[in-house]
């Protein structure tokens, strides 16, 4: 299935958008449906509860790797994240072989840098995303991405206080809520343009929309996100 999706991306077929992002939209629609106001079904409650506990657990597992070199915890993180990391790379247009290799390298880096993980600063997903992102830049451009603040190889020059850390956790929760508020169309263009690094023209082709519509949708999506996040 995944292989098929990737072929579609590479050959630029028309159903690129629906095939590749169907799953993504589905997740968002489900997430939206599971929001409190939308009439909770039992399964929706279970799903949203799962989503919450999952996030907590993976943070704890990374902490266990740091503290005890816990390989069981590592294997559990691997089972959840490695296929998503590979899928994330492939959605960005990377060939399956390289995506496999880099997903493995990302997981290796999770193990090696576990001691730098601070659960008060970021969720497991966010932290692992930054590792995957940096490795993707290293691999594609053969240069080191000057972004390491979650790795703490560089300390920011301003001191972060405990209340800042609390703010950061709240802020991450706010992002989750904000992104659930975006329409799936808006989410999709943010995804394609920023995280998959697709130029406007390619997004227009993939979604079968005029170029101007893509640009204005992206602008409105960012405006909407900005409003939802609020000015700091």
């Amino acid at each position: 299935m995944i292989r098929l999706r990737c072929i579609c991306v590479q050959s630029g077929m028309d159903d690129f958008g629906t095939l590749t992002f169907g799953n993504f939209n589905g997740r968002w629609l489900r997430a939206r449906r599971s929001m409190p106001k939308a009439g909770k079904t039992k399964s929706a409650i279970r799903r949203s509860f799962q989503a919450m506990t999952e996030a907590v657990n993976y943070s704890a597992k990374i902490t266990r790797i740091a503290a005890h070199g816990d390989k069981v915890a590592f294997a559990e993180i691997f089972a959840y994240f490695a296929p998503r990391i590979k899928g994330f790379f492939m959605r960005g247009g990377m060939a399956p072989g390289q995506a496999e290799e880099l997903a493995q390298e990302t997981m290796l880096t999770v193990w090696r840098k576990a001691q730098l993980f601070d659960s008060t600063k970021a969720s497991a997903s966010t932290w692992i995303f930054t590792i995957a992102r940096n490795l993707r830049v290293d691999a594609i451009r053969r240069e080191r991405y000057p972004a390491a603040h979650l790795m703490e190889e560089h300390e920011p020059e301003f001191e972060s206080s405990p209340s800042d850390d609390l703010l950061r956790v709240e802020s991450e929760e706010r992002v989750r809520r904000a992104m659930r508020e975006l329409s799936s169309d808006q989410m999709n263009v943010i995804q394609l343009h920023y995280f998959d690094d697709k130029p406007h023209s390619e997004i227009a082709r993939a979604l079968d929309l005029p170029l101007g519509t893509v640009k204005s949708r992206l602008r409105l999506a960012m405006q909407h996100l900005r409003n939802l996040l609020g000015e700091e």
Binding site: I2, R5, T20, N23, F24, W28, G69, A75, F78, F81, A82, P83, R84, I85, K86, G87, F88, M90, R91, P96, Q104, M107, W111, R112, A114, Q115, L116, A122, S123, S125, T126, I128, F129, R133, V137, R141, R142, E143, P146, A147, A148, E153, H154, E155, P156, E157, F158, S160, R168, S171, E172, R174, V175, R176, M179, I190, Y194, M222, L225, E232
Partner: protein
């Protein structure tokens, strides 16, 4: 802090899609501006959510074993080596942390009262970041842009038609601007700059130095 990168730039940075030079300018800005750093963290959290929602692509059946076999005997922390800094920094200026690991060349003549110094070796030459050092009141060489220029003030101040910029302030000038900033009258100005795209110097002097800079 008054002048910060737009959310568009911060999102592109968080997603890993800025070229190295511009990314370094943004990264240096983040080390000086907690508001922007907080925003980038929010956008990285958006990245975390897109990772959670990424399509599941199963790995090879032996992938976990292969990774497990590599876990032992590796050091946890690899600190990047510090770069060689040949340019002296006046007045005890400490460069932002993200610049520390890059090699920084000697100050070289760019225009009367203005010097420049190259940063690092990576990336394409025209996207390579540089430091600019200007005597008080000097106008930085006039140029028009085919790309986007990212500038971060590190010391002193810069002034243009749009605003006044002090240490930590970020300036982005795109093709629509004829950008001609000048250093404040009281103090020399040092800034970090990078170009995303081609930069064309307009003045005769600019045309002369353009080949040297490799723009």
């Amino acid at each position: 802090m008054t002048h910060r990168p737009s959310d568009d730039i911060l999102m592109a940075y968080a997603a890993g899609n800025l070229a190295q030079g511009p990314a370094l300018v943004v990264s240096a800005h983040l080390s000086l501006c907690s508001e922007s750093a907080q925003r980038v963290h929010q956008f990285e959290a958006a990245g975390g959510i897109t990772l959670d929602d990424a399509p599941v692509a199963e790995l090879m059946s032996d992938a976990l074993e292969k990774v497990l076999a590599q876990l032992d005997g590796e050091s946890v922390r690899q600190i990047p080596p510090r770069g060689r800094h040949l340019a002296d920094m006046p007045g005890g200026l400490v460069l932002p942390a993200p610049l520390q690991e890059y090699d920084i060349g000697k100050w070289r003549f760019l225009a009367p009262g203005v010097q420049w110094s190259s940063i690092g070796k990576g990336g394409t030459r025209r996207n390579r970041p540089m430091l600019l050092r200007s005597k008080p009141g000097m106008v930085l060489p006039e140029h028009t842009h085919q790309g986007v220029e990212y500038t971060l003030v590190l010391k002193g101040s810069l002034h243009d038609a749009i605003g006044d910029y002090y240490p930590g302030d970020f300036i982005m000038a795109d093709a629509s601007l004829e950008h001609e900033p000048s250093a404040g009258p009281d103090e020399e100005c040092i800034c970090l700059a990078a170009v995303d795209g081609r930069l064309q110097m307009k003045s005769r002097l600019g045309r002369l130095i353009q080949p040297l800079l490799g723009f």
